[in-house]
């Protein structure tokens, strides 16, 4: 059964509050506000009691699936469990009662946390300096490319092309366009990495840089990264590291050492802060020495007199966000880094990679594995065989997984894999959970053979059945109307 809208629960005259009677002189609103600012009639808000509201939203929340409910293997999203200690720390009165305009000497603890988080992320990324300002991954990309743009402009070079591989996250070409650059796509080779010939052809004196995720969206580490970095640098470009897949490399490999000049981290992926509806996110950007002069301001610094917010960056690209980034998220990531420690963070990546490889091998017998090599933290299967043999599409597999109680993996991405299923188990899942998920995926593969129509009609156990996505996109019906 579907839940009615809150407007449909409305009953004339019902109230969720009762205010005490007025004990100051009454003044008509018409005397206080100019006529053009007044509504001719009151807004049509739902008239409901407090318990109506609580039950309505509790029922809706129970329909949701989150990482606190069960396994959530959404590829390239790193839906790892968010330790509750992070929330405890972020709710300490000294943090939640801060005001952004407080004098620096009264917020030394917060500034120290920002400074230390900058240093930790710089160490993890192998870079020289970090800005905590960007509010999410794509905002980090925007910041990073603006830094690259400022770098070339400062040197008087007119470079307006950014190279992006065909396996890239969609945000990469979108960011390129947002920054006023042009996208030049390079192909992947048969091992799933950047095709070096294609890269050589793409490089010229108009190239400002290259955006790369490593491991990439196939979950594969590009072993040619040093060659790629040399080629781009020789052509006068810089390298941008999309940190979406950094959960594979903590304490093992550093983007800075691979040759990247600018890196973003997703604290809401790699560093266990809530992701999606539980956000907000945070996408700090780290840079090598060459880009330090252009970093956004302010940056937390440690001086003899204590911690300060420095605005002394003459060539700064300016501010990327109001105040100091999503500070509460930074607190949670700081708590995570401190509770894991360097060895613990390395173990995170080792377990994430182990879990992914275990699941990949368990499923490879039942689904196609287009790139058959060890994966990192995620892997990509193809439903191409199921489609050819039984007419069952990846979408049907994903919908059927809902009936088995799991959030489906990312589907139809990366674009270079037909009927793609992109699975990222993360390190926080036990062998039992992985086996339960594998059992569901295997059962679905068998259903595809024995009863394909069953899959095509899935899901059956959700509040709604299969939705018509095309109709919803072509004729969106988003607003409630009384009639």
């Amino acid at each position: 059964m579907t839940e009615p809208l809150i407007f449909e629960l409305s009953s004339p005259g019902r109230q969720g509050y009762s205010l005490p009677s007025l004990d100051v002189p009454d003044k008509a609103v018409e005397d206080l506000l100019p006529a053009e600012e007044l509504r001719p009639e009151p807004p049509r808000l739902p008239e409901v009691s407090e318990v109506d509201v609580v039950r309505h939203f509790t029922r809706l929340s129970n329909m949701n699936h989150g990482v606190d409910n069960d396994f959530y293997p959404l590829g390239s999203c790193t839906m790892k469990y968010n330790p509750k200690v992070n929330e405890d720390v972020a709710r300490l009165p000294g943090f939640i009662n801060l005001h952004p305009y407080q004098a620096e000497e009264t917020v030394q603890g917060a500034l120290r946390l920002m400074y230390e988080l900058q240093r930790y992320l710089a160490e993890i990324g192998g870079v020289d300096a970090v800005s905590l300002q960007p509010a999410a991954g794509a905002h980090g990309e925007l910041t990073g490319l603006l830094l690259i743009k400022a770098y070339h402009a400062d040197r008087g070079e007119a470079r307006d092309v950014i190279i992006v591989p065909d396996s890239a996250h969609g945000t990469n070409p979108a960011t390129v366009t947002m920054c006023g650059f042009k996208v030049r796509v390079v192909k992947s080779d048969e091992r799933g990495g950047v095709d070096l010939d294609s890269l050589r052809q793409a490089l010229s004196d108009d190239v400002a840089g290259l955006m790369l995720t490593n491991p990439n969206t196939l979950g594969l580490f590009d072993e040619n990264i040093h060659i790629i970095a040399d080629l781009v640098h020789e052509a006068g470009g810089l390298l941008y590291y999309d940190g979406a897949n950094a959960n594979a490399i903590l304490g093992i490999a550093r983007p800075g050492d691979m040759g990247f000049d600018v890196v973003h981290f997703n604290l809401h992926k790699t560093f266990s802060t809530p992701h999606g509806g539980g956000g907000p996110g945070s996408g700090p950007v780290g840079v090598k020495e060459v880009l330090v002069p252009y970093l956004p301001v302010p940056i937390a610094e440690k001086r003899d007199e204590g911690y300060v917010l420095s605005y002394d960056v003459p060539k700064s690209i300016g501010r990327m966000k109001a105040f100091y980034g999503n500070f509460g998220v930074a607190v949670k990531a700081y708590a995570y880094i401190r509770s894991m420690g360097p060895d613990g963070l390395r173990r995170v990546s080792e377990d994430a990679v182990l879990n992914a490889n275990y699941l990949m091998r368990r499923l490879a017998e039942y689904y196609d594995l287009p790139y058959d090599r060890h994966c990192k933290h995620e892997f990509v299967l193809s439903g191409s065989g199921l489609k050819k043999k039984f007419g069952v599409r990846t979408l049907d597999v994903a919908k059927r997984l809902l009936d088995y109680g799991f959030h489906p993996p990312t589907v139809y991405f990366p674009l270079i894999v037909d009927e793609a299923l992109m699975i990222e188990p993360t390190e926080t899942e036990s062998r039992e959970t992985l086996d339960r998920f594998a059992a569901a995926m295997i059962a679905i593969a068998k259903e595809a053979e024995e009863d394909p129509d069953r899959l095509k009609g899935a899901p059956y156990t959700m509040v709604v059945g299969r939705l018509d996505e095309a109709l919803a996109a072509r004729q969106p019906n988003l607003a409630w109307r009384e009639d």
Binding site: G170, L395, V411, Y412, F413, L415, D418, E469, A470, A473, R474
Partner: protein
Amino acid sequence: MYPKDLKYTEEHEWVRVEDGVATVGITHYAQEQLGDIVFVELPEVGQRLEKGESFGVVESVKTVSDLYSPVSGTVTAINEELLDAPEKVNEDPYGAGWMIKLELADEGELAELLDAAEYTRMLEEEG
């Protein structure tokens, strides 16, 4: 599924040339891979396109893809019906689902495109 009178690109666009005017759309294979198309973004009439340049965007329930011009030329018409009825690209990719018309800048470029047999072979090789 791949008419013999059309020319094709490796990016799965087709082009039909009549009296120096090229009509461009996407192939049956492309619409099938994309799935239900829900939005098509097309250029302005009068825009000058280079061969291989992006002239628009096609969005399906699965993905968003750039559209690439098979030849150089100036846009003389766009299929405005697609803005309200993008499903025409799925239903009739070589007819009602056409996207733009171009005044050809260089007829010689046509020779660089694939014919139906070559395009079909490419699809088979890609598996």
